[in-house]
Symmetry: none
Subunit: 200 residues, 4 copies
DNA sequence: TATGAATGAGACTTCATTCAT
DNA sequence: CATGAATGAAGTCTCATTCAT
């Protein structure tokens, strides 16, 4: 059985899932109404226009759907972590771990966000979240004195790339766990306070 | 007169430059032969098909052209640096600095790579370069024991995002320099050996 | 509550009134079942198809509805006039006066008749009425020796144009009265006997 | 050989003529790119989009084309007339006479103007021309004291209706001449000064 | 080389109508 | 009666590509 979030139901949800599948497999550029209709088992593209105001509307619904799925997976794990560093690590590891369960959705989401143009509240939100997280952590003394915005940008996009690569060719669960730990280590190192062990 | 690399000449080069301009300004999705022809001052798209085997061929030529331009700027700066860490820093700083001189080309390149699908020799090459650089640096003891491939992937894409953001809204030269230094610092921290930092 | 003629009732009448409103506001070409359903507060176009055999059927019902409304207004005024000339004048003045009370319906009617194609019993009827009126008036010596058909055609359509113009931007009642009088004067002049003004 | 005005040439003109034919025969509403392409012997509607910026552009070109044709016929006849009354008569008669040579174009033009929405410079121009003609004629004492605007509106649209009717079922040339004379008589009567018929 | 014309496919959207519930 | 879904056709428009000149 497919996962289904509470915001969608019936044909509308079916179309959204078909769109996600097409975007994940064929890419954003090839995700035409024709392909999506075929994937959804619909006889015409008119049905999509019937359920959605336009292509943007459908794509937004896809993003919303995926974010609900990913949020349901990641949020508890992030909330379970205590402290700024642990939460950073939890976010990274949860995101990579997610590849094991929702590779298709993640591939679609990343492609959607890449080609979002302007309408990317989601990415902007995450970026702002990271930036704010860094700032409060810096105030608490658990992060170094780096530029919060630049760092947030570099680390979130780097995370996306690792996730995308993993999603394109899903590895074993153990390897996935290792990748998440590696990346989290990297980010923890990158954001650690200067203090003692600073070489060079 | 615009810089002209040795691989392109005459109309072909003119079309490539027009394509780069269109991609940078209107985005990959809107970069049709029509727009490119108009930008190039051509009265028909036929000339583009005459000079290029197809759209892919033209886009590849764009990537090649941009890489030569960026390479000419970055390579000397990288070569001037001595040691693995310094070269990593030089690469990052040069890439950010490049925004000041070739924002258009960088915007186009990033859009091109985003929508590359599979055929991204350039990105794969840079990724392999970073990975190899990390491995030899690790052997030399100047980098930590991280996973070279994952780290290369995260850091190169993070760098791209920072460059793209800067290119989309080019800041003052001084600010550009600061951003490069910040990012380089971040990456050096992220890749540094754990405890007794061994210099080189 | 809106006026309701005896031929229509319930949902059917509601749809007809919605259609009239849409045609008047958005124009014949934009009067799709979707728009009409929305205007009628219906959630689906299915109800329209249920109540009407097809689009033509609905449009005919609109014409009928409007004609009853306009007839109820104009007929008493025409009947009150005595003599061919006075009746001509009464028709013209009543029609223009009608703009003050049923501009929406008149705008819709004119648009409907314009795009009638062939099935315009209403217009044909009025044309025949005028023609016959002119003929009997000529026999009575109160009209000149003009061609009744050509004159009827030119005057009825000219009247429509004046009404349409007034309905599109409804003027003050006094101005409306003046326009009606002006136009009636014009038509009386145009149809008067040549030399010795024939009384009646 | 078909008439061809100097503003159009080649395929563009061919498409315009096809569009005019389709509008005249099938009506404005049915004049889709598909029908026009078929009429023009084109294999696809893309060709129309290639030559015209959009449907509006094509329709405007049709109007322009027809106006050149009609203008070439009518203008000399109007210019040959001396005096306001004679020119009014010349305009009416020339317009009706035109049915004998360009019925198709006239039917198309009338349908185009009817569905013009806003972009009807042509009709507005003619209306203004009539209105101004009436005003100057009134100042010269050859027209009565009627409202120039209302009269212009009623007479021009009445003329259109007579022309459209004739064009839909073209009568013999002699009958055409008679219709023109009848209508001109009507209009001259309608606009004549009240009492002492002052000629010119 | 260069042009302009032509093609055929495919894009998104809207429409009137039908039908099961 | 009423709804919402579904259909299939047709609409305008853009695209990459080809070809004769």
């Amino acid at each position: 059985m497919r996962a289904r979030t509470f915001t969608e139901s019936g044909r509308r949800a079916q179309i959204v899932r078909a769109a996600i599948a097409v975007i994940a497999e064929a890419g954003y550029a090839k995700a035409s109404f024709s392909r999506i209709a075929k994937q959804a088992g619909l006889s015409s593209t008119g049905m999509i226009s019937y359920h959605f105001a336009g292509k943007d509307d459908l794509l937004k619904a896809c993003v919303t759907e995926i974010e609900e799925i990913t949020g349901a997976f990641m949020q508890p794990r992030i909330d379970a972590a205590v402290g700024h560093v642990a939460q950073l690590r939890a976010f990274v590891e949860a995101n990579v771990e997610l590849v094991g369960e929702h590779a298709t959705e993640l591939r679609a989401l990343i492609d959607l966000v890449k080609n979002a143009g302007s309408r990317s509240d989601a990415v902007d939100g995450r970026l702002a979240l990271f930036e704010e997280h860094f700032r409060t952590g810096q105030a608490a003394g658990v992060f170094g004195a780096f530029d919060a915005r630049i760092t947030a940008l570099a680390l979130t996009t780097g995370l996306d790339a690792v996730v995308a690569t993993a999603a394109a060719n899903v590895p074993e669960p153990a390897e996935l766990t290792r990748i998440g730990r590696e990346l989290a280590d990297l980010y923890v190192r990158a954001t650690a306070p200067e203090s003692t062990g600073g070489p060079e």
